[in-house]
């Protein structure tokens, strides 16, 4: 019982809360639920959950406010549940330190995968990279950290330094959405406003590693938000 991970679900819609609790319970998570932002915040302090599932549209306070408050003192992974078409809110939440987001309506498998990813990330950062792997394989893509080499189907791909940097950032956050602004900050610093350069670079990377541009296998675009590197590691 005690080694079960605790998930706090902050969601005002009872039906959604019900079915999400049901899924998570069945998958071996412990679930506590809050119907409002304030209730959620107090439960975070009292229960110290391993992960927070947060609906952005709450009746009392804005979900963004909840994120801000939590992030001011805790690094607990937060997974935001939002509706489609709220790109601005998503980006804001991500930039505030939310780990990932999932768009309503979502399938159960998608939800579970995101939860796993988020938990793994938090473990990695908490566990201080105990076992840094030498290389990473996703499908036909191989990234060799030590040699700073990237291979597709065992064929070496030549990336420019900036392209390599972008790749590294994405790889480090495998399976997680990175906003344009986040990537830009990491590479060019905070004073770069436009994201055209990043897109051009990304287009170039894609042309080097992807087979079909229209159906990318490795780097997925989240329209209006940012990029995500798929987390389908071949170990």
């Amino acid at each position: 019982m005690s080694n079960k991970l605790l998930i706090l679900l902050i969601e005002d819609e009872v039906p959604i809360r019900n079915f999400m609790s049901a899924i998570l319970n069945s998958k071996g998570y412990r679930v506590i639920a809050a119907g409002s932002g304030k209730e959620g915040l107090s439960m975070i302090t009292s229960h110290c959950p391993d992960l927070i599932l947060l609906d952005l549209g709450l009746p009392d306070i804005d979900g963004i406010e909840v994120v801000k408050k939590v992030r001011s003192w805790s690094g607990t992974p937060i997974l935001v549940v939002s509706a489609r078409g709220q790109e601005r809110e998503k980006v804001e939440a991500l930039d505030l330190g939310v780990d990932d987001y999932i768009t309503k309506p979502f399938g159960t498998s998608e939800l579970l995968a995101r939860i796993r990813t988020a938990l793994r990330h938090s473990n990695r950062t908490n566990g201080e990279n105990l076992m840094e792997p030498k290389e990473l394989r996703i499908g036909d893509l191989t990234i060799d950290y030590t040699k700073r080499l990237i291979k597709v189907k065992e064929k070496e791909v030549h990336l420019t330094p900036i392209e390599y940097k972008i790749m590294m950032i994405l790889v480090k956050n495998l399976g997680k959405v990175l906003t344009y602004q986040y990537i830009i900050n990491e590479i060019w610093g905070p004073y770069m406003e436009e994201n055209q350069t990043l897109r051009v670079n990304m287009a170039n990377i894609r042309r080097k590693i992807e087979e079909n541009l229209a159906e990318p296998k490795y780097i997925i675009t989240e329209v209006g938000v940012g990029y995500r590197m798929v987390d389908e590691r071949v170990d």
Partner: protein, 894 residues
């Protein structure tokens, strides 16, 4: 008890489109019949019934009954003004407009305001009040009617100075005739009830004779009766003047024309016919004196005021010109004034104008109005024209050269000993040439005198000596003089005709040019700009054009030719323009209203609506002539047409947009109500079945029902997403917020979303090798692609293969989604993208909602400024294609 007509008067009727006030006139045949009393009495009655009545102006009365009534009603304070050191009180028009009562009482409609007041006449104040939506009750006597002025003058011998134009009288919604027996009126007068006693005697002697009063009474009653019959006709016909007669009145600069004009106006009114006042501009009018010009202007204004159309024609022969015009414009009656001719020899030979007219147009009735009072008839002596002529070096030189030439030729002839009588012919020829090529009469006459002297001196025996003139010399001189005069006259006529022709031609050309340019000009600003350019060019004055009410912040478009524009852009001038805008009448410099303004303002009217106001600077009293005004009016009417057209097309566009939006919205609603009901019903049914029969139902059936629920909900979600996407399109502009997006990313996302639902679908995608940025709302275009791909899947029942191709073509990105299905049915082609559900019977179940999907795609693409089309592929399947503009920016980055 309140009378029904008062009800109408205060409440207005449905026909009151512009919410104008209603006018009621208490009409009497003389002062003292009790108009004021009746008016006040009714006002009190109305006030008792809760109508907001205010007394605007009542003449001071001493009658106790009237004074009693006055006490009971609220009185608007008068405006006190000093005029020539005398303190005068006047009706306060601004105060009344500010107070804005329901109904205002203003005595004596014919009153002339003090100089310096905004309006010259009180009836103009009243018009303003009516325009402001205030009902006005007023009074007037019959002798103050403009068209009856002459008649009253004839009867009573008293000149009426203050008159009211007949159209005010006609405009009045109600006329109440106030009448008493003349005997009683005279009794009232004698007892000092009307005027103070010392006044009474004087007036009674001259004016208030029993005889006069009877005739005036008859006039008043007849006028009132005319109005009633007029009203009756109005009701049966349309308000347009429908009569098939049309009157023409000839006017001149003679002050006696006014009589003809008034007569014609009365006549036209009784016949309910339109009428035209025609002025024939003869060449001699160049030599008209200043007062003649003024008199002419006054006549034209009078005619216009009385409702005539004023036309100026150019021509030498008055009768022919008039007959030509009459024939062309369908005139049935001609009115001309005639003074008794003095018997002269000229009269003996020349036909009178009226005789000539009758002989030219036997079918037209000619009315001759005698001018009883022969006033100073402006003599147009030839002396004026003779002396008016300025000295010209050119003409003098020509004259001298020709005369010397003629002399030389004659001398030469004499040397050759050719017969003497040719000499005379040579001189006559020279006189003829001189008259032809010089301006005016002077040189011709001068040349003929010189010629006779020369002939006498050089060529007549004894040579080189003056001899007393012989008989034949007189005849020679006379012939030469006649030749000179006739030739000069012909020349002058031809020249002036040419000038007029050129002038007319120029105007026609300008009008045509303006018309042509206006036709191709689009946009309010451009029209105004063009008009301004032309007006300033034609009149060489600064112009200002307002297309909105200047009072409501409509800034005028100004075109300056000189610095006087700074006088035109003042608050006062704007106020004048505002007045013109509201009252739909000309005002400003040279008119009766706001005559102290710098500029002359004319409304641009179209079908009773003011579309704008044109102002022309008249700084330093440089007023526009009647001719210029009518030309300006012609231009204004052209501009009105252009503005109206612009307004209509703007409106139409707005309506079109509105309709488009409306259509989309109603389509959506219709679709939603229909399409949401079906899946919701099945979800409800399936879930309740499971809940209620969980014990009895088989596991397999249960699963089937559950998967049904799942499918239907997925469908619902897609539908809702579609609907949500519409809300991203701006309500106001029907546009979207565009940001440059990489096409491949958008396509990829769309495909991945489709793949989630159709796991093993066959989709081939082709995106440009080079990165292509397209300005768009990524989410929306993704939605379009998803909808189109889904649509393709649905219509290819077995083994669907979808091809998605994105290409760049010049300034557009082309997106193409094609399937290998059954294609689009012929009958659905036309309406497929227009409205939801091409064929209700089929689509209601099988492909439900795709109609919405497509129409949403359509509006999304349209909102991006793109186009959408579709066609059937050869060998089966349909292609949906849409384009998005690249906006010509460097969106294509390598």
């Amino acid at each position: 008890m309140i009378r029904p007509e008062h009800d109408r008067l205060t409440q207005g009727t449905e026909s009151d489109k512009n919410e104008k006030g209603r006018l009621k006139i208490y009409f009497g045949y003389a002062a003292g019949v009790g108009k004021t009393y009746a008016m006040l009495d009714d006002a009190r009655e109305l006030q008792k019934h809760g109508v907001d009545v205010v007394i605007g102006y009542i003449e001071s009365h001493t009658r106790p009954e009237t004074l009693q009534l006055l006490k009971e009603l609220p009185v608007l304070p008068r405006k006190a003004e000093k005029y020539q050191n005398v303190e005068l009180t006047e009706f306060d028009i601004d105060g009344a407009l500010k107070r804005k009562p329901q109904l205002i009482i203003i005595d004596n409609l014919s009153h002339t305001n003090m100089p310096g007041a905004r309006n010259k006449k009180r009836y103009q104040d009243v018009e303003e009040l009516l325009n402001a939506g205030i009902d006005v009750v007023t009074s007037m006597s019959v002798q103050h009617l403009e068209s009856l002025k002459d008649v009253v003058e004839n009867i009573t011998g008293i000149k009426v100075r203050d008159t009211v134009p007949d159209n005010i009288f006609e405009y009045a919604d109600q006329i109440e005739l106030v009448d008493i027996e003349p005997e009683e009126l005279l009794f009232r007068l004698r007892t000092g009830k009307v005027f103070k006693e010392e006044q009474a005697d004087k007036i009674t002697q001259h004016y208030f004779t029993k005889e006069n009063l009877r005739i005036l009474r008859e006039l008043a009653m007849r006028k009132a009766a005319d109005r009633i019959s007029h009203d009756n006709q109005k009701e049966s016909h349309s308000s347009e003047k429908m009569s098939n007669s049309k009157l023409l009145v000839c006017i001149s600069s003679s002050p006696t024309s006014a009589k003809s004009i008034r007569w014609a106006s009365r006549m036209a009114e009784s016949m309910h016919a339109p009428w035209v006042a025609v002025y024939i501009d003869k060449e001699e009018s160049i030599f008209d004196r200043e007062e003649q010009k003024k008199a002419l202007q006054a006549n034209m204004e009078l005619a216009e005021q009385l409702g005539a159309e004023v036309v100026t024609l150019n021509g030498y022969d008055v009768a022919i010109t008039i007959s030509e015009y009459a024939r062309l414009s369908g005139i049935t009656n001609i009115v001309i004034g005639k003074s008794r001719n003095r018997k002269t020899i000229k009269n003996f030979f020349e036909m009178d104008l009226e005789d000539k007219l009758i002989s030219l147009m036997p079918n037209i009735e000619v009315h001759i109005i005698p001018n009883s009072n022969i006033l100073r008839y402006y003599k147009k002596p030839w002396k004026i024209s003779f002396l008016n002529q300025s000295f010209s070096w050119r003409d003098s030189i020509i004259t001298s050269v020709l005369l010397i030439g003629a002399s030389g030729l004659s001398l030469f002839q004499k040397i050759l000993n050719i017969e003497e009588h040719n000499v005379i012919l040579i001189f006559i020829l020279s006189v003829l040439i001189i008259s032809r090529v010089t301006k005016g009469y002077f040189y011709g006459i001068f040349a003929s005198i010189i010629s006779v002297i020369m002939y006498n001196y050089i060529f007549a025996k004894p040579y080189f000596a003056f001899t007393p003139l012989r008989k034949e010399n007189y005849i020679t001189f006379l012939i030469m003089l006649l030749v000179a005069l006739i030739t000069s006259a012909v020349t002058i006529r031809a020249k002036t005709q040419a000038i007029y022709a050129v002038d007319r031609e120029r105007r026609t050309e300008i009008l045509y040019e303006i018309n042509k340019k206006l036709l191709v000009t689009r946009g309010l600003e451009n029209i105004v700009q063009l008009t301004n350019e032309y007006i300033t060019k034609i009149f060489s004055r600064s112009a200002i054009i307002y297309t909105e009410d200047p009072d409501k912040g409509g800034a005028g478009s100004i075109m300056a030719v000189n610095e006087d524009i700074k006088y035109m852009d003042t608050d006062f001038e704007r106020q004048v323009a505002h007045w013109v805008y509201v009252n739909q009448k000309r005002a400003g410099a040279g008119t009766d209203t706001f005559s102290q303004a710098v500029a002359f303002y004319m409304p641009v009217l179209s079908q009773g609506n003011v579309l704008g106001v044109i102002g022309l600077s008249c700084l330093n009293k440089n007023y526009l002539t009647q001719n210029n005004r009518s030309f300006l009016r012609m231009i204004a009417s052209q501009v009105a047409m252009a503005l109206e057209r612009q307004r209509l097309s703007d409106e139409q566009r707005l309506i079109l947009i509105q309709r488009e939006k409306e259509k989309m919205r109603s389509n959506l609603l219709r679709a939603i109500s229909h399409d949401l009901r079906t899946p919701l019903t099945s979800i409800l049914g399936a879930s309740s079945t499971i809940l209620e029969n969980s014990e009895t139902i088989e596991k397999e059936t249960q699963n089937k029902l559950l998967s049904n629920i799942k499918e239907e909900s997925q469908w619902l979600i897609r539908m809702v997403e579609n609907l949500l996407s519409v809300t991203r399109i701006s309500e106001e502009t029907s546009e979207v917020k565009k940001t440059p997006e990489a096409v491949e990313e958008i396509v990829a996302e769309a495909i991945s979303r489709i793949r989630k639902r159709f796991k093993d679908s066959n989709i081939n995608v082709q995106v440009p090798k080079e990165l292509l940025f397209v300005p768009m709302d990524g989410i929306l275009i993704e939605q379009v692609l998803i909808n189109l791909i889904e649509n393709g899947m649905k219509h290819s029942s077995e083994n669907p293969t979808i091809d998605v191709v994105v290409k760049k073509d010049k300034d557009f990105a082309i997106f193409e989604v094609s399937d290998n299905g059954s294609g689009i049915k012929e009958e659905n082609f036309s309406c497929l993208l227009e409205s939801y559900v091409p064929n209700r019977k089929h689509s209601s179940d099988s492909s439900r909602g795709m109609g919405i999907g497509l129409s949403i795609c359509m509006s999304i693409v349209k909102a991006h400024g793109g186009k959408m089309e579709f066609e059937n592929k050869q060998g089966g399947g349909a292609v949906f294609r849409f384009t998005l503009p690249l906006d010509g920016e460097k969106n294509n980055v390598k």
